[in-house]
Amino acid sequence: MRSLLNFLARYNNLIIFLVLEGIAIYLLATGNNYHNGRFVNGVRGLTRGIEERINNTRTYLSLREINEALATENVALRNNMAKLVKKGNSAFTSVTDSIYKQQYTHTSAEVINNSTNRQKNFFTLNKGSRQGIKLDMAVTSGNDVAGVIVGCSENYSVAMSLLNLDFKLSARIKSNGYFGSLSWDGRSYRYAVLSDIPQHVTVNVGDTIETTGYSAIFPEGVVIGTVSDYDKVGGDFYKIIVSMKTDFRRLHFVDIIGNMKKTEEIELEKQFQ
């Protein structure tokens, strides 16, 4: 017993160090996973007030750009509307039918916390489960990919940014339809990497890269960016550097897209696995 006490007294620093380090590593291993939501719901509530205040200042400073973006979007929407009115004159009128027709729901939200300088970036949105946000919904900025919801509390949600080493997305070259896997290599916040495109395919600098819709998270045809460079790696595949259209440093207002038929699709696919 005494030797045990002696031992403890002698190495008490090391023991405290190991205990604290153990707690930290435990938090790192369990808490970093935003899926468990505990961290998002509980402790982060403390800092959210401050985050919102910081964001308010930041939004105020960039009001001009936000206005410009909104004006451009308005024009685009007006153009679409004009086309729809024309279509409406045809024999078949479109009826808003939420059960059979509508597949995607859109909710607009504001980014209240964002980072681009880490290897695993997340951003926080000011809408949560009360506003109908659920896990695995897609987040887009304008019509460009931004991230996926990975954690929801009542009034807030956390999205994994495309700028995250763990982010994987099925993407294709718009011009020829060949698809591959898109991820971020952790280097620049402006570029992502598209891999798994076979080398017999013709790739041109400037080709548009868009989502495939295979993941049931993103709708088909959401723009990711354009090819800025490509390289042949190994024997079979290209490594395509994609210049992303979304400017993650200026993410302010985003759309959250939910797929209403996702459960159905996944249930059906499960039967064949």
């Binding site: 008490n12 620093n13 405290i16 160090f17 604290l20 380090e21 707690i23 930290a24 590593i25 435990y26 938090l27 790192l28 291993a29 369990t30 808490g31 970093n32 961290f39 402790v43 982060r44 403390l46 800092t47 401050i50 910081i54 916390n113 980072s115 681009t116 300088n117 880490r118 290897q119 695993k120 997340f122 926080t124 956390v158 080493l165 290599d185 952790g186 280097r187 620049s188 916040y189 440093r249």
Partner: protein, 168 residues
């Protein structure tokens, strides 16, 4: 005693605010992320008991973690920094030892000593932090580049703050 608790609480709050409100928002590029809050660990008095140093390190790291949504990452790196501080102090001790009841500051021990002291602890802290962040050994050298660049920036900022403190 009470006076120094008050003083260090103030330093703690100022450094945390500086980190969270200013440095966390700089996002200069993925390669340069200065973390100046570690200066709190550097400034604590020489005679502080090791257990208190470790607990304060943990608390500092945890506070930063709460603000940056990265549970455990900063805590772990800062506890490591707190753990090695006594050893670093021993290695770089001046020829005639440390004066009793002194703070490890630039005023007391000079610029070169403070630079070495800051550089060593910040380097250990940043190495732990950035490798924990990626949590993989792929891109080993790129992470090392991030560690080195960020260390240079953090050390520069800490020295500037220390110079400003001395000026007052």
């Amino acid at each position: 005693m009470i006076n120094s608790i008050l003083r260090f609480s103030l330093i703690f709050i100022l450094l945390i605010l500086l980190q969270v409100l200013l440095f966390n928002n700089i996002q200069f590029s993925g390669y340069v992320n200065p973390y100046v809050y570690i200066m709190f660990i550097l400034l604590l008095p020489m005679e502080i008991p090791s257990w208190l140093l470790l607990i304060l390190s943990f608390a500092t790291g945890l506070t930063i973690d709460l603000f940056s949504g990265s549970p455990g990452m900063h805590s772990s790196a800062t506890v490591l920094a707190g753990f090695i501080r006594p050893y670093v102090l021993r290695i770089i001790s001046p020829r005639d030892g440390y004066e009793p009841n002194s703070d490890p500051s630039m005023v007391t021990y000079g610029f070169t000593w403070f630079l070495t002291y800051t550089f060593l602890i910040v380097l250990v802290h940043h190495t732990a932090l950035f490798y924990l962040e990626v949590f993989r050994f792929a891109d080993f050298f790129r992470t090392m580049l991030r560690v080195i660049l960020s260390t240079l920036f953090s050390v520069t900022f800490i020295l500037l703050i220390e110079l400003y403190r001395r000026g007052k």
